[in-house]
């Protein structure tokens, strides 16, 4: 009948713990303040250790009751509890050391320091239980986090877009969803409502309201029903103030239950639509520019290039790769390419459109190994030397609009594995030529919009 008293007292633990910390620290500070006169604060010190010990005992007792009544796992609280007990005992020990004395005994500062360490450890372990172990580390700069070896938090469900049909529904989708949305409160160490959602077995076992899933019947399955309740409903899970799962995640859970909540079924067998999974596909973005490590170009070098007349900037802030164009440097001729030798590894985007270059320039372009985009629009390039570009193994986009290149000349570019697009609008190349012989996509433009009646009808 009066059982609630225990639970109530247990819930006072977070309040009580501050008393021994404050009182004992105060006593310890007084110990260190008693430098020459070892009697000055003697009475206060003795009283502090007595009160500290009593409040530490009350804290330990309330802590133990809280562990018993609030669904904490022993694993997660045991060290905190042990250290709490040791702290209590030490406080009383120090108090009895001072009993019937008038002066601080020898070595007392050392003993007090020991108590300080115990207090700090106990307090820290307790804080970790309340706020989570990453409470302090997550605010640190990333570099320091790495140094301390802090693990990345769970990033949620992610699925590879290839062969997703073969992925096991439970293992690959359901458990990851539970891990990122539910596990922080429902795990073996901390099972709120006696529910543990960290494995299939514990999921089947359910919690204090019975099994979490009711095979095939999603409406009766507590797991889904709670997710599906309105957000402001008292029983909605995850609790209103926590991060909510995506609607696709809830739907995936529902479908899994409808399909019999099996551990062996694959996504393909369950006939899950790709649309549901798309939000979780891992984007395999290939870097546009070469994936190599290079040093950034110095501001002085950039300044020099600008002074010569180039537009030159890193492709983005902090990137070692340079974009160089001759947009305000129309007098650029073959000779001027030499001025780029200083940044030959960095040059990734070069626009020589509208300049005075000749075919000769292609001979020297092989000097720039990381060239990815090359624009030679509206120049005297005849296409003769295109074979020289074979050395530019990263070349992806080549612009030859308004030049004299022919389709046959372009064929040599098939050997460039990385080449994706070639623009040859306004060249001798016409639609009639066979596109299939090119391994890259060729854009020759020449679009027209034949007149239609609606062009001229005025309403």
């Amino acid at each position: 009948m009066f059982d609630f008293i225990f639970q109530l007292f247990g819930r006072f633990h977070p309040l009580l713990v501050h008393l021994p910390i404050g009182i004992l620290l105060f006593g310890i500070i007084l110990v260190f303040l008693s430098k020459s006169d070892k009697t000055a604060y003697f009475d206060s010190i003795r009283l502090a250790f007595l009160l500290g010990g009593i409040s530490a005992l009350a804290s330990s007792a309330s802590g133990f009751l809280q562990y018993q009544n609030e669904g904490f796992a022993w694993d997660s609280v045991q060290f905190h509890f042990y250290f709490g007990l040791v702290t209590t005992v030490t406080s009383f020990w120090l108090f009895f050391e001072l009993k019937n004395k008038q002066v601080l005994p020898f070595n007392f500062k050392l003993k007090s320091s020991g108590l300080t360490v115990l207090l700090l450890i106990t307090g820290h372990l307790g804080g970790n239980i309340t706020h989570g172990e990453e409470y302090l580390t997550e605010v640190l700069p990333e570099g320091i986090q790495n140094l301390l070896g802090v693990e990345e938090p769970d990033k949620g469900l992610s699925i590879s877009p290839q062969n997703w049909e073969q992925l096991r529904y439970y293992e690959g989708v359901v458990q990851p969803i539970l891990n990122s949305n539910c596990k922080s409160c429902h795990n073996p160490r901390n099972s709120k409502g006696d529910l543990d959602l960290s494995s299939y077995e514990s999921l089947l076992a359910g919690g204090e309201n019975g099994p979490a899933i009711h095979s095939s019947d999603f409406e009766k399955s507590e797991l889904y029903a709670r997710l599906n309740l309105p957000l402001d409903h008292e029983d909605h899970m995850p609790p209103q103030e926590k991060r909510q799962p995506k609607k696709e995640e809830v739907e995936l859970i529902r479908l899994w239950i409808v399909n019999g909540a099996s551990t062996t079924q694959t996504l393909g067998e369950a006939k899950v639509e790709q649309k549901l999974l798309e939000p979780f596909f891992i984007k395999e973005e290939k870097a546009f520019y070469p994936e190599i490590t290079l040093k950034e170009v110095s501001p002085d070098t950039l300044q020099n290039l600008k002074a010569i007349g180039f537009y030159s900037e890193p492709v983005f802030q902090g990137s070692p790769f340079l974009k160089v164009t001759c947009i305000n440097f129309k007098t650029f001729s073959d000779e001027d390419l030499k001025s780029l030798n200083g940044v030959k590894d960095n040059l990734a985007y070069l626009d020589l459109s509208g300049t005075q270059i000749s075919d000769e320039v292609l001979n020297d372009l092989s000097l720039f190994p990381n060239l990815t985009v090359l624009k030679l629009n509206e120049t005297k390039i005849s296409g003769e030397n295109l074979a020289k570009l074979k050395a530019n193994t990263y070349l992806k986009h080549l612009y030859l609009n308004g030049t004299q290149v022919s389709a046959i000349q372009l064929e040599v570019l098939n050997e460039l594995k990385s080449l994706e697009k070639v623009y040859a609008f306004n060249t001798p190349i016409t639609e009639a030529q066979d596109r299939k012989k090119f391994k890259f996509s060729l854009e020759i433009g020449g679009y027209t919009l034949p007149p239609i009646p609606s062009d001229t009808i005025v309403y």
């Binding site: 492709v315 947009i327 919009l449």
Partner: protein, 502 residues
């Protein structure tokens, strides 16, 4: 003890009595003056990262505000062409096909749509108005486009539609400001200004942000839609004349050589520079830069802004007629400007406000005429950018400031002489194309009447966030210190629309 207190009290009151009006004035000089000084030194204009500008420590950016800066992240697009149909085109006649709405044609609007809502002109219970166009699905993406845009319908696989856009302003001026500056009130920089401020421009002989208008009028919100707000005014859009010479007085006057002109400009700039060193007003720098820009523009502008020399097949493609003010000419100019490294080109076409009050403003007649004026040019622009490989690096945005109601307008409670629709904030269609945009995508679903978005709704801030993302910015980090707090284009909102990213 008591005596000491008494003595001290007496001393204090003696001191007070000795205070004269002169002391007060002296204090005013040093203290009120200090107060007034504070905003001068650290107040409104803190520049980027809150550095205090002073006349002695000038960065390259101060001397040339349009100098290019690399974007914070790898950008998908380097330029923007924004096509704004001022007046707001009807999504229900162009892209948002609603067969259910046709069935309700001429019936009273259901109460549920009107409850608790305000419209610009609709009063009482209006009639529903079915789609006035014939729709068909086009391309591999199967996008619905009406017969109002026959040419454009062949480009649907190049664009990404945003079909559940929404805004919160139902009058043209505020809605245009919201769409262009992220705030319905005056004073914020436009999208183009933000981008030019953040990236500068590549071609130093041309402005970074050019505005061209057509349709006979400028947008209702006035020139603030391309204004620079609290950013330095050098980042505002440069409006070029759409008829005759795009920029006046580019030719040197008779008898004045270019060298002489150069001397004149350097003399003026030198005087301005001295002024700047005295007062530290950044607007003086903007002035200096404008003179230099004007001088440099003489080289390149006549060539870029002249469409006469374009080959015949290009004129045929766009339907351009050199010399007249037209949206087609502006589209061709936009391509030429982007090709020459201009960062942002903003086109405004006026005349899309189809209330049904007259023939030009009717949804079945006037709107068709407006569509004819843009159908070929827009299609040509996309094709031309594509064939030159520019679509890869250019972001094209099309849209109005809001949408139009599924109900027929009943201004003053009367049936209008023509078919028309009122302003509508809840659902409208826009599209984007080009650098970094997923081709043939469609995002957003509206209800059966096209009244409200029911899924994947997109706010104006979301659109801005996405545009900035494609230009290489994180819209949450791209800020400018003003009046004591950092400002963003997206203010405190905006979410990236990932589903339309390539």
């Amino acid at each position: 003890m008591k005596n000491l207190d008494k003595l001290l009290g007496e001393l204090a009151s003696q001191k007070l009595q000795a205070q004269t009006r002169r002391h007060f004035l002296v204090d005013c000089v040093s203290k009120l003056g200090g107060l007034a000084m504070a905003p001068l030194l650290f107040g409104c204009d803190l520049g980027k990262n809150g550095q205090v500008k002073s006349g002695l420590n000038l960065s390259e950016r101060d001397l040339n505000p349009l100098a290019s800066i690399p974007p914070p992240f790898l950008a998908k697009a380097k330029s923007i062409i924004y096509l704004h149909m001022a007046g707001a085109p009807s999504q229900l006649e162009l892209f948002d096909y609603k067969p259910e709405l046709a069935k309700l044609n001429d019936q009273d609007c259901p109460e549920s749509l009107l409850e608790g809502r305000k419209f610009a002109f609709i009063r009482g219970v209006p009639k529903m108005l079915g789609p006035q166009a014939n729709f068909k699905q086009h391309g591999e993406s199967g996008a619905w486009v009406s017969d109002y845009l026959p040419h454009f319908s062949q480009m649907v696989d190049e664009v990404a539609f945003l079909k559940a856009m929404h805004t919160d302003q139902f009058n043209h001026g505020p809605a245009q400001l919201f769409m262009q500056t992220g705030s319905p009130r005056l004073g914020r920089p436009s999208l183009g200004s933000w981008v030019t401020y953040g990236l500068g421009t590549e071609n130093q002989n041309l402005p970074g942000f050019v505005v061209l208008t057509s349709g006979g009028k400028t947008p209702d919100a006035g020139k603030s839609v391309w204004g620079s707000g609290f950013l330095p005014s050098v980042y505002q859009g440069v409006q070029c004349r759409s008829k005759g010479d795009p920029v006046l007085y580019l030719e040197d006057p008779k008898g004045m050589t270019r060298d002489l002109k150069k001397n004149v400009i350097s003399a003026i700039n030198q005087a301005n520079q001295e002024d700047f060193e005295n007062f530290g007003d950044p607007e003086i720098l903007a002035r200096i830069n404008q003179f230099e820009m004007a001088y440099r523009m003489q080289i390149e502008v006549p060539e870029v802004m002249n469409i006469n020399d374009e080959p015949a097949y290009i004129h045929e493609l766009y339907g351009t007629k050199p010399g007249e003010e037209s949206f087609a000419n502006n589209c061709l100019l936009a391509r030429k400007l982007v090709e020459k490294g201009v960062r942002v080109v903003q086109l405004y076409d006026w005349g899309w406000d189809t209330h049904g009050t007259d023939r030009d403003g009717s949804i079945d007649l006037g709107l068709r005429n407006k569509c004819r004026e843009i159908d070929r040019p827009i299609t040509a622009l996309l094709m031309d950018l594509k064939q030159r490989g520019l679509l890869e690096e250019t972001l094209v945005v099309w849209g109005g400031e809001f949408g139009r109601t599924p109900m027929q307008e009943n201004r003053e409670g009367k049936v209008q002489g023509f078919k028309g629709r009122d302003h509508h904030v809840d659902a409208f269609t826009m599209w984007v194309a080009g650098g970094g945009v997923k081709k043939g995508a469609s995002y957003g679903i509206t209800d059966d009447f096209g009244f409200s978005g029911i899924d994947e709704r997109t706010s104006v801030h979301d659109l801005h966030a996405t545009i900035l993302h494609l230009m290489g910015f994180d819209h949450e980090k791209f800020t400018y210190e003003f009046q004591g707090r950092p400002f963003r284009l997206t203010d405190v909102e905006g979410e990236l629309i990932r589903k339309i990213l390539a």
